[in-house]
């Protein structure tokens, strides 16, 4: 286990390094000067130079990257004339547009994506896995055909379409729910939930369909395995075979995929955020891209990457926990 963690940490760092370098290079090539934006209207050459210096965009790319890496480990000071701004480690950079440390901007928006993801996850797991199991166990019947159809329909609906249609139906026509607006859970849990219901649903529906498909095929595959036949040959009741023997095998890959999906979503659910007007990481990134706010782009991307890499490691651990045949090394 220790060995696994060590290897994983090393590879995580490597992955993040490669990625940050790629993103850095990519965006350095963009036209447009972020300093102009940061400087605002009425900013001439001298003032621009000061701003450029503060942002560090007057340095060659390599130096900028080096400063960034050092900032991650040791923090970083931004020279702003009278008072220098300190960005504590891990410093993901300093937003051109907002004059804020990127990490703070990310953590401010993270609750949105965490709320979105976790709630959606519960729904898609319950609906998706339930549907998948049901259609696997009712194989060949009308139930299965119906569920397969629904699943396909679910998978074929782009996420923003679902969001739009849900809002059309529930907020505009029926008026049962408020137009979603993010409320922190600490403020009012009930409103938090009421506002998130639709985003959850639209985010969950497509995943539910995918998970239903996966669960179904995984379950069918497991049910076709020899040890299930053994269970039957030894007189185990069908319910026990399914619950005690097939389920664990069938759900192991589902659970590990779940970890990865959740990891990916925590880094921002751009379309859902856009449709519902939530200010999460995805929107932050889109906005930053539009404003050439390089540190935010790099920061959010790395942050998302960090989640994904961690999620992969978690998936591996889950896999090992679920499946005694796997040893972590």
């Amino acid at each position: 286990m220790l060995r696994f963690l060590l290897r994983r940490s090393v590879s995580t760092v490597l992955v993040l390094l490669v990625l940050s370098a790629v993103v850095f290079t990519l965006f350095y090539a963009t036209p447009g000067d972020p300093a102009i934006l940061a400087c605002g209207k009425g900013c001439d050459g001298d003032r621009l130079a000061v701003v450029r210096h503060k942002l560090g965009t007057d340095l060659p790319l390599w130096d900028q990257y080096w400063h960034f890496l050092r900032g991650l480990v040791a923090g970083r000071d931004y020279d702003a004339g009278a008072d220098t701004t300190h960005c504590a480690a891990p410093c993901f950079g300093y937003s051109f547009q907002y004059d804020q440390p990127v990490l703070g901007m990310i953590t401010a928006r993270l609750p949105v994506d965490v709320s979105l993801t976790l709630g959606a996850m519960v729904i898609w797991m319950v609906v998706g896995v339930g549907t998948g199991l049901l259609s696997a166990l009712r194989r060949g019947g009308a139930t299965e055909r119906l569920l397969t159809g629904l699943t396909l329909a679910g998978m074929s609906t782009p996420v923003f379409l679902i969001g739009l249609l849900l809002m059309m139906a529930f907020c505009s026509w029926l008026g049962w729910l408020p137009f979603p607006q993010y409320t922190p859970i600490a403020d009012d849990p009930a409103r938090w939930a009421a506002n998130l219901v639709l985003p959850w649903l639209s985010l969950a529906l497509i995943s539910a369909a995918a998970y239903a498909r996966m669960t179904r095929s995984s379950m069918l595959e497991t049910l076709a395995e020899d040890h299930i036949r053994t269970g039957r040959a030894y007189g185990l009741p069908e319910r026990r075979i399914v619950a005690g023997h097939a389920l664990r095998g069938a759900l192991t890959p589902v659970i590990t995929l779940l970890a990865i999906d959740v990891g990916g979503m925590l880094g921002g659910a751009t379309l859902t955020e856009t449709v519902f007007g939530f200010d999460g990481l995805g929107r932050l990134l889109v906005n930053a891209v539009n404003h050439i706010d390089l540190p935010v782009v790099v920061g959010v991307t790395l942050f998302a990457a960090f989640f994904i890499v961690i999620a992969n490691a978690v998936a591996d651990v889950l896999y090992a926990v679920a499946d005694p045949r796997v040893a972590l090394a």
Binding site: A80, D83, F179
Partner: protein, 569 residues
């Protein structure tokens, strides 16, 4: 001189909208709330502001506002302010705020003197001093705190080289003889100084509380509200400032106990929420999102939305800008042909229809304060006159049509966005002009269009004045001395006509606004003949507000209802 002129511009229209800045001027119809006004009935409660754009920086040195802004004016009091108390034409005039009057000019309007009112205090009860006003202005010169309007650097003696209080010591052209007197020394006569003194840079900042770039997290309030929290300009929560007294502030009413500004919302979501007006949204307004088609269609419906729309006019013109240094736009006939061909109806439709835009044939906004003088030298009717355009084009030497490129931004729904560009493209097609579209991301666009070296031949542009006067409207666009090679140029046509320049100087010296307005109008009409721009439309502001919001009359200064006087049930 040249360099200081450079301060005029930079950051294009995209920035204007993205930072929720209003370069403003007033005029137009005054709307009003649907209930009789009695502030005593409407104290308390929480007002929510639902906005699309982030508030951005909340440092008085970095805000670029018109007449003190909408939210900033709740926290920052300035020497003068726009007239908050009326929805009529008087609202386009500056009134005293911290100062006892709108300023005493001397030395031919080169020196302006102000006296502070009695008993002014900050949110912590400490008194406001003239030195703090001076310090606040000095801060705005610091390169670390960029973003404010360029006029101070341009007007104050020594302004162009001053580096702010952190590095540059004090600015000698602002003199504080005592705690309640402040004197400004200008390089040239500026009759408009009282207009400028409405900007947040004229708000007092106590030096002891200045935390540099972090000051915006908790700026010290001199107004009716103080900042409870400011989440990077996304969510700002304001609460009543107990040390503010209505006794020495006749401009603000401060009805609600709390004001919550929530930004980053989708524009359609804002409209949907305000239309539904349920829960807390009943006590909500927006300061930056126009109604869209979904609201328009329901306007006369049973929900009574009609009574919940405030209509205002902001002195702004969207137009097609020609670079007369670029072929074929150096040919006036070509410019005229395009002027004839443009279909203003489809342009207006592209930005939301007649409810939110008025077709424009003049460069100056159609408001009295600007000196509006109607003209239409190249009449194309509602939807253009392609036949006439073809004829003029043939005269110009292009009997077989012409292929040109139109630059626009990628920002959907904006006046310089792809929808308007396609509308222009379609209209010119009928006149035999093939238009290729070239889109840029809005910041690139601003950078590119504002530098003569990279300026495209034809592009979509807008201009809004910082206060309701013809000067700041025409000078940056047509004054030949304001062609800025290094960037930030708004004189897109690159017109440099000594006669025009001289006329601008002459009008600037006038101290009578009425007389000045008339001459600005005449100048505009004169410039119009040269087809240097094709004015497309003037925007109309139509904003929805929640059903429990009252007293929503519209300021003539910036076309918006005034948060400082709004009350909620």
């Amino acid at each position: 001189m040249r360099k200081s002129r450079a301060l005029y511009a930079a950051a294009g229209t995209a920035l204007l909208s993205s930072l929720a800045v209003a370069c403003g001027s007033g005029g137009g119809a005054g709307g009003s709330g649907h209930k009789a006004f009695d502030p005593k009935d409407y104290r308390g409660g929480t007002l929510t502001v639902l906005n699309h754009n982030d508030q951005g920086h909340f440092d008085p040195a970095r805000l670029y506002t018109s007449g003190g802004g909408k939210i900033p004016t709740l926290v920052f009091r300035t020497l003068t302010t726009r007239d908050h108390t009326t929805g009529g034409p008087e609202g386009a005039k500056p009134v005293p705020d911290l100062a006892t009057d709108t300023g005493t000019p001397s030395d031919g309007a080169r020196t302006w003197t102000y006296h502070l009112k009695d008993g002014l205090t900050y949110e912590d009860g400490t008194p406001i001093k003239a030195q703090d006003v001076k310090y606040g202005i000095e801060r705005s010169f610091a390169p670390e705190l960029p973003g404010g309007a360029p006029y101070l650097r341009d007007w104050l003696v020594g302004g162009e080289d001053y580096q702010g209080p952190y590095k540059g010591g004090e600015l000698d052209s602002i003199v504080v003889p005592d705690d309640r007197t402040i004197v400004f020394h200008l390089r040239k006569p500026e009759g408009d100084f009282p207009y400028l003194a409405t900007a947040t840079q004229f708000a007092p900042v106590p030096k002891a509380k200045d935390t540099g770039v972090n000051y915006e997290k908790h700026p010290v309030s001199s107004g009716p509200y103080k900042v409870v929290s400011n989440d990077q300009g996304r969510t700002i929560v304001l609460a009543r400032n107990p040390h503010w007294s209505q006794k020495n502030d006749d401009q603000r009413l401060a009805g609600p106990d709390r004001i919550v500004v929530q930004s980053g919302l989708d524009q359609s979501v804002i409209n949907q929420r305000l239309a539904a007006s349920s829960g807390a949204d009943a006590r909500a307004v927006t300061t930056d999102t126009n109604i869209d088609a979904s609201v328009l269609a329901k306007l006369n419906g049973p929900q009574g939305l009609k009574d919940r729309v405030a209509t205002g006019f902001f002195g702004e013109t969207w137009y097609l800008a020609f670079n007369t240094k670029a072929k074929p736009f150096d040919n006036q006939k070509v410019r005229e042909a395009i002027s004839y061909a443009v279909d203003r109806r489809s342009v207006v439709n592209a930005v939301g229809g007649t409810a939110v835009a008025k077709p424009a044939t003049t460069f100056l906004p159609d408001q009295k304060a600007f000196g509006y003088t109607p003209y239409d030298y190249f009449p194309g009717g509602a939807s253009g006159d392609p036949a006439k355009a073809r004829k003029v084009l043939a005269e110009a030497g292009y009997p077989n049509g012409l292929t040109i490129t139109l630059d626009h931004t990628t920002s959907a729904g904006d006046g310089n966005g792809p929808e308007v560009a396609t509308a222009v493209q379609e209209a010119l097609k009928k006149a035999g002009i093939t238009v290729r579209l070239h889109a840029s991301e809005s910041n690139d666009y601003a950078e590119k269009t504002q530098k003569p070296a990279t300026e495209p031949g034809l592009f979509l542009q807008s201009w809004g004045a910082d206060w309701p006067s013809g000067g700041p409207f025409l000078a940056p666009v047509f004054d030949g001395r304001q062609i800025l090679k290094g960037g930030g140029n708004y004189n897109a046509s690159q017109l440099d006509d000594p006669k025009v320049n001289a006329e601008i100087d002459a009008i600037n010296k006038l101290t009578d606004p009425e007389a000045a307005a008339a001459r600005w109008g005449r100048l505009d009409a004169e410039l119009g003949k040269r087809a240097l721009t094709v004015p497309l439309y003037h925007p109309v502001y139509k904003r929805l507000f929640g059903k429990d919001v009252t007293n929503t009359y519209v300021s003539q200064w910036n076309g918006l209802y005034d948060l400082s006087r709004i009350s909620v049930k």
